[in-house]
Symmetry: C2
Subunit: 353 residues, 2 copies
């Protein structure tokens, strides 16, 4: 099985139809499809259309709701707290960013905390909703039913591998960053394990306290992922993991003890900032452009690898795939074929590679 | 020269008198003294009374203003932007946290961005202003005239070693974290260099791109500090350094190109969050207590070193020093003696160790 390319509008239409067939309301289906598409466009193909069958199944089993609305639990001038009632994260996350943008334009910042939405896939997919409006955005997500990262000095799994993303508008391309507060993501450990490889650096602490790059220790033997900073400086990543879970689970009032049976449901913290409410957009862009230029001008370690601005690789993929079609790899295309067949939805046409 | 202890009220009075003699208005002098005292109480003695002569000198030379007010450049319901007009950071930082608390109680969050304040010393000193009110707080500081940290993949100094601090109220002691987004702080590199020691881990990239733990490479040979994550995962710390400088310098509209002659002046981002505006304080505390308990319950790597909550060591020092007196070490006490003599201020009585 080889990889294929599909035009983005056709892929969007296909995924929308699949979600509708699986029971999602039309607007929910379309937003879900856009969120997965955006993951692929930016090159996060583990968090793009490859997840279509998972999201279809969640809708079909009722684990994710295909209709209904979020419940606003509380609000003030600059903040809202939502219960997503198991609506898909692919639908709720962009909604939360939009709401935070609205509040930011009025109050200077806008913050939305969301509990109980189904898995959001890639946080990077939602950043440009804000940066396209000239706004800064900061996203955190936790998975309260999952534990995989140890606190510094410990070997027990406490935190989920909480992703963290920021988006910043500039006078040209936005800066986009999507990372985790653990040394590595659980998916990368799984991938190395499946391939029988060691990880490129020590990322795991064993149940007996040894630091290792052997994925088997995590997958088979109950080890935990190390927080960012690893064996020496893990107190920094530990602090950032704590922040992520306190700003999400804490503010949502829905913690690990409440979420035991929640599977992959996420809790989100979304914050948008309007630079116009501070020193103004023009001054912001001038300072940002100058700082990013200083980074680009930095002497590189490897003469052939200039220092990059976070997100520049993803944006190059976005442009290329918007023109030439979205690349769907040998793991993804067969899954879409399977969904098409099962749901009776016509597959999109493939383009040359 | 040995170390001494001094009762905290006497130390506060002494430092207040020194700052008044150096030209600070009474309220400014008192707040400055409190900020330094709080650094010592929490055990950050490099950022406590040891800096008294520096702050006295800044007032005397006019590098820091002993009077005047901050200028509010802009405001909305949840945000304010200040120009501190070279007022001492020791005075302006607590003022900004107080203002952010006020806004948070109304709007849900409160954010204050401050440009051009003199050096703030220890960010940790300001967290309990918010946590004592049951509020979360997040502080970032940059020093736009300083460059010491390289972007990932680069060897040039671009960022200052931007500190980052968070404070979180719980049903008992607050969680307090104060860290930098570089592998290590510049002060620790200087200390290792002065002692002729190597750093405990690779923290520096040389001008030719080698990663090293030799402080000489930074102090003498123009190397740069590595961002958190080091040689392998420095793109994470690089992203966090960018966030710190964009959320401070960017929003303040006052960047590195503007600040060339600003010495140690800081730019601050202060954000306070009221959990009552989200799912409520009771729910917040329940989730926070549960999460912190999970950390404390984690199996430790070393059986004799249980997993600790960030800030627990600092709070133990605070309690001990509030009772037994503040410990002033052999570097600090002679400096206070010198200030007392020069300014004609009576030294506080010393207590037994």
């Amino acid at each position: 099985m080889t990889q294929v390319r599909v035009a983005k509008t056709e892929l969007l239409q296909f995924a929308t139809s699949c979600f509708e067939k699986a029971g999602a309301r039309a607007d929910i289906a379309k937003t879900m499809a856009q969120s997965l598409l955006w993951g692929d466009l930016l090159g996060f193909n583990t968090h793009g259309m490859r997840r279509l069958p998972y999201n279809v199944k969640q809708l079909q089993t009722g684990a994710a709701s295909g209709s209904g609305e979020v419940t606003v639990l509380n609000s003030r001038a600059a903040v809202e707290t939502w219960d997503a009632n198991a609506l898909p994260g692919l639908y709720v996350a962009p909604l939360a960013v939009e709401k935070a943008c609205e509040m930011a334009i009025h109050a200077g910042t806008g913050t939305v905390v969301v509990r109980r939405c189904e898995h959001v896939a890639s946080l990077a997919a939602y950043l440009q909703i804000a940066t396209d409006k000239g706004l800064l955005v900061n996203l955190m997500a936790a998975t309260p039913a999952q534990s995989s990262v140890a606190p510094a000095g410990g070997v027990s799994r406490v935190f989920s591998p909480n992703p963290y993303a920021i988006g910043v508008p500039t006078s040209a391309d936005p800066m986009l960053l999507d990372m985790s507060f653990s040394v590595t993501a659980a998916g990368k450990v799984r991938q190395a394990y499946d391939r029988g490889e060691l990880l490129p650096w020590p990322a795991i602490v064993s149940a007996s306290g040894e630091i290792t790059n052997n994925p088997k220790v995590y997958i088979e033997d109950g080890g935990a992922l190390l927080p960012l900073g690893g064996g020496d400086l893990g107190y920094k990543g530990y602090g950032l993991c704590l922040q992520s879970e306190l700003w999400t689970l804490g503010l949502s009032g829905y913690g690990r003890a409440d979420a035991i049976n929640d599977g992959e449901q996420n809790t989100l913290f979304v914050q948008v900032i309007d630079p116009e409410a501070f020193a103004g957009k023009a001054a912001f862009e001038r300072v940002v452009d100058d700082l990013l230029q200083r980074c680009k001008n930095a002497e590189p370690i490897d003469k052939n690898q200039p220092v990059r601005i976070p997100g520049s690789g993803a944006l190059a993929k976005l442009k290329e795939q918007a023109e030439r079609g979205v690349l769907l790899d040998e793991l993804t295309w067969p899954r879409l074929q399977h969904c098409a067949e099962k749901l009776g939805v016509e597959l999109p046409a493939t383009l040359g590679l």
